[in-house]
């Protein structure tokens, strides 16, 4: 059975030693977030995840959710764990104090989310989806809706969902058929079928708050006629308790490859009562508020699964003896050496390690920018953070989920045949990780978002929030011989990224298919450069710490430098091939007729 220990040391390194989050205590909401407080919160969260959530991860997968006549039973222990989670105040960790939350910075929630995902991804999606609903209502809901729903979501008494997909439409929401008919009392009647609704029905709370996209009858065609509604499972009474059952029912749940302990519901809306969130026909705004947060959140899932997979692949590689080291016997007292002596096993493990630690830095940096975008006192700083966030969100989502899946597979490979056996738990990580490449916008859609929206946005302003400071960093560090192993490879990668960006800007302007043809390779090139930058920053800190004696744990910094070198020499070179593929252009992709495939 797999185990999990939250990587607290590494988390503290990124937060305090590299990002220096303690420097932002002048921001509103940060006053309670001293480094010591954040550390204590995360340690508590880790304890909860390790002791309560991780032990029911494998059993949850085996048992799955059960549907019976519209009701869904979650696996053994899920309900109890959720109750404990609410009692611990975890559901409201980063929510506003006025609704009962603790008002901690957004980035603290990102750390918690990584830990919860590593421990039990399927379970984590129940409170995870609630938080998206909270944010949409907080940002766009009327005062009355806020008063009615936010305290319940913050306390965890009720959970929330996002309802976008229909049987015939997912990516292209303009095709949506679910309709909303205005009622004299200002509410709407919602009718239609939504599918793939994560945490869409369950037995953990008294009520579920569905946020539903639908078209108001008579409104504009396509995506411009989509509005956002709150549709609770039970209509709240005046005192806030769940009252009459609303016209929404769970028709079935899906049998899936993984995240089996999270109910993926088909929801049938039959004249269900709903209330408009935000303005009519402007539903995509509210949905994007949820989706952007959700996309970062999905990127965190890639990170969380890579971490737990790595930990368990590593533990096996240290214990399992098989064959002898190519460099001479390492464990003469044993019949064979532990397989971690083999270069190729190390290649697999180091790929996981270098990805995970680099992506952790990228993710927490993104999380901090959510706070800065909302709370920085300076409007220009807010805008910059928002621009940067928009740019890197699709990268975090797509790259980290692709790599989360790859690392789960690499770690599983370290176990050989045992990796394929359910009992060992590694194949569950692979199956769970796979969904993150698909939902909240398939990774190909993220790539299109990057090249089609984020690059050209505001005449390249977003891009400059990334390119300029990276350029400055490279110039600053160029003269330092201690940084040579990192700056050279990063310079080459950045050069490739700049060239590819110019090419896409030029060719994509004339022909959008050229941008589309480059999109996935470009996103990966961008991601590798971004993570390369993160590694160079971490290397900088490690070098400085070692120069100052290395503190209590100089080995930690030496390992950081070795891992950074691995990333530079063994992972960043992929940028060379990516550049060539981007330069190849659209011809080979587009020349065949569909019938010729």
């Amino acid at each position: 059975m797999p185990s999990y220990n939250a990587p607290l040391r590494d988390m503290r390194f990124v937060l305090h030693e590299v990002l220096g989050v303690g420097n932002y205590q002048n921001l509103p909401g940060f006053e309670d977030a001293s480094p010591d407080t954040v550390d204590a919160v995360i340690e508590e969260g880790a304890k909860f995840a390790q002791e309560v959530l991780q032990p029911i991860n494998q059993s949850g997968d085996r048992e799955g959710c059960k549907w019976d006549a519209g009701n869904v039973t979650t696996p053994k222990g899920f309900k109890e764990a959720y109750k404990q989670y609410c009692e611990g105040g975890w559901t409201g960790l980063t929510s506003l104090k006025e609704y009962g939350g603790q008002g901690l910075p957004y980035y603290v929630g990102v750390l918690l989310s990584e830990i919860v995902t590593s421990a039990n991804m399927a379970w984590g999606m129940y409170p995870g989806l609630s938080h998206g609903a909270y944010e949409a209502i907080a940002a766009h809901g009327s005062d009355e809706l806020k008063k009615t729903y936010l305290p319940k979501l913050v306390s965890g008494e009720w959970t929330g969902t996002m309802n976008l997909t229909e049987p015939h439409c997912g990516t292209d929401l303009g095709l949506m058929r679910t309709k909303a008919e205005p009622q004299p009392d200002g509410s709407y009647r919602i009718t239609g079928t939504k599918i793939f609704i994560s945490a869409g029905e369950h037995d953990m709370t008294d009520n579920i708050v569905h946020l539903v996209l639908a078209k108001i009858v008579g409104g504009p065609e396509g995506i411009r006629g989509v509005s956002l509604f709150i549709v609770p499972k039970f209509l709240p009474n005046a005192d806030g308790s769940p009252g009459e059952r609303n016209g929404v029912s769970c028709g079935s749940i899906e049998h899936k490859m993984g995240i089996k302990a999270n109910a993926t519901a088909v929801l049938n809306y039959d004249n269900a009562k709903g209330w408009l969130v935000g303005k009519a026909h402007k539903g995509m705004r509210g949905m994007f508020t949820m989706m952007n947060a959700a996309r970062l959140g999905v990127g965190v899932q890639g990170l969380g699964l890579a971490e737990v997979s790595y930990q368990n692949g590593l533990a096996y590689a240290k214990e399992r003896v098989q064959g002898r080291s190519l460099g001479g016997i390492k464990a003469p007292d044993k019949a064979a050496d532990p397989i971690i002596v083999h270069p190729d096993v190390r290649r697999m493990l180091l790929t996981c390690k270098a990805f995970t630690e680099g992506a952790r830095m990228l993710t927490y940096w993104a999380g901090l920018n959510v706070d800065l975008a909302h709370k920085h006192p300076d409007a220009m700083a807010r805008r910059e953070a928002d621009d940067l966030l928009g740019l890197i969100t699709p990268i975090v989502k797509a790259y980290q989920t692709d790599m989360g899946f790859e690392c789960a597979n690499l770690a599983m490979q370290c176990l050989g045949g045992h990796g394929y056996i359910a009992e060992w738990g590694m194949e569950q990580f692979v199956r769970d990780a796979r969904i993150a490449q698909i939902y909240e916008g398939a990774n190909g859609v993220q790539a299109l978002d990057l090249v089609g929206r984020k690059l050209p946005a505001n005449m390249g302003r977003s891009l400059r929030t990334f390119f300029h400071p990276l350029d400055a960093f490279l110039k600053e560090q160029a003269a330092d011989a201690a940084m040579k192993d990192f700056i050279g490879p990063l310079l080459r990668a950045f050069g490739r990224l700049q060239q590819a960006t110019a090419l896409i800007a030029e060719k994509g302007m004339a022909d959008a298919e050229e941008a589309g043809a480059a999109s996935s390779d470009y996103l990966r090139l961008f991601a590798l450069t971004a993570v390369g930058w993160m590694w160079a920053k971490m290397a900088r800190v490690a070098i400085d710490k070692l120069a100052a004696g290395g503190g209590e744990d100089p080995g930690f910094y030496r390992t950081k430098l070795a891992t950074a070198r691995f990333f530079m020499e063994r992972m960043l070179p992929d940028t060379a091939s990516l550049q060539q593929k981007i330069q190849a252009g659209k011809r080979t992709l587009m020349e065949l007729d569909a019938a010729a495939f």
Copy 2:
């Protein structure tokens, strides 16, 4: 529910138009294998696979195998399908006529195996393992063993298995504990536990012939003391019927990620009666006979799953409408365009297509070389074929199973959320494909086999069987402008492969860890170059056919050329990054202590 149509046109193209297998009819055993006969056989096999095997693939996965008190029940329809398969003579397709087989060339079996895997991989493993047992006995068994067991394996009345792995040892078979005690009658008593035995127990036949590695008591230590035994489930009576139950029992079957319809058995041997196959302590020879064939067979599984995944991803991409083409509306009569208009969807599908068709050529070429190695009248030609086969077997096994898994994932990705739902069948392909990267030697072990054994073998003689004809081909084609799109990229890839080979030969001689550190990237670099060569050969034929008018179906050749260009421009560039990683050497892999990971 997925569908499958055997790619008969492409198979014929490779066999007849590129490999020209008709030219080998002077080889013994080939006299019955006229192109028309082979086509007819394959068409019949395709019909059987499509009509009988494919319809029980998904239900087989859902139902799985059931273990009860040592007995295993296969899923509904499996037994009946197997009976039909035997009646059709498929089990003996390529076996010797003297044992009741049809004596057709080995390569015909490779084609059948691709088709069967595409239709139903888990089912295909029951007869697949029998064939490995047949080959080991045919090559190494005594006349009496041959007489007793081969006719039963050829007719399919009995199936066979391979027993290598024990709970504490897989890759390192020298650690094996299963022991064999010589008996006065010349037989042995076998005692020990074997795990991960595919098709190890089932209800499809009256008897199962286990081929078991064990150590004869008092023999040499380690791998040099391993012998191969036949241990039947039931001891054959004098008339050949299954008699007394032998001391082997199925302790349990594994719950696995995929191939759930194939029983992966724990087999307990308790003083079971067995007979030596080949010489005492030389068991690895017989096992390698099985394993080499099995490794090619596993490479075929990667190909087969990529093909069926591609077919179903493609069908969805042509039907599903979502969004509009970036190049202007393509289906004005519909609410949206089919998603195959999108460059990134095409990138995923073309990756599958270009891999599958290139790997098909590589695989059939390998299959033909099995025939040449055994049957060519000229000893030098036999040796060359055998050298080449040894070189490319680990490449076919590792590259094709890695890509089989990747293509299954890419095709699944084309379905978006539906790909993750069991009902659609795509996630089963992913789960089934995953095992092929692990069994018959994990892919990292294949890479070590390539750099550690196959490169240095006979002073590089094996390597020359690949490098020399490729070099000659490139020189031959260099002047032809029509081949420009293919020869340039292939030249660059081959240059990288030559440089990497020289580097490994030089550094690896002094330090085996350097060879190990390069091994997986080198195998991939070799594989891409090999498949690039296959594509260039196919392009050559397509160009010539088109120059001659293109026959009945010029579109087929034009599509071949477009797909070849895609491979050259979008897949072969990976060789650039791989070369850089190989050049990085072992430092970043080896510098960390295990404790620092």
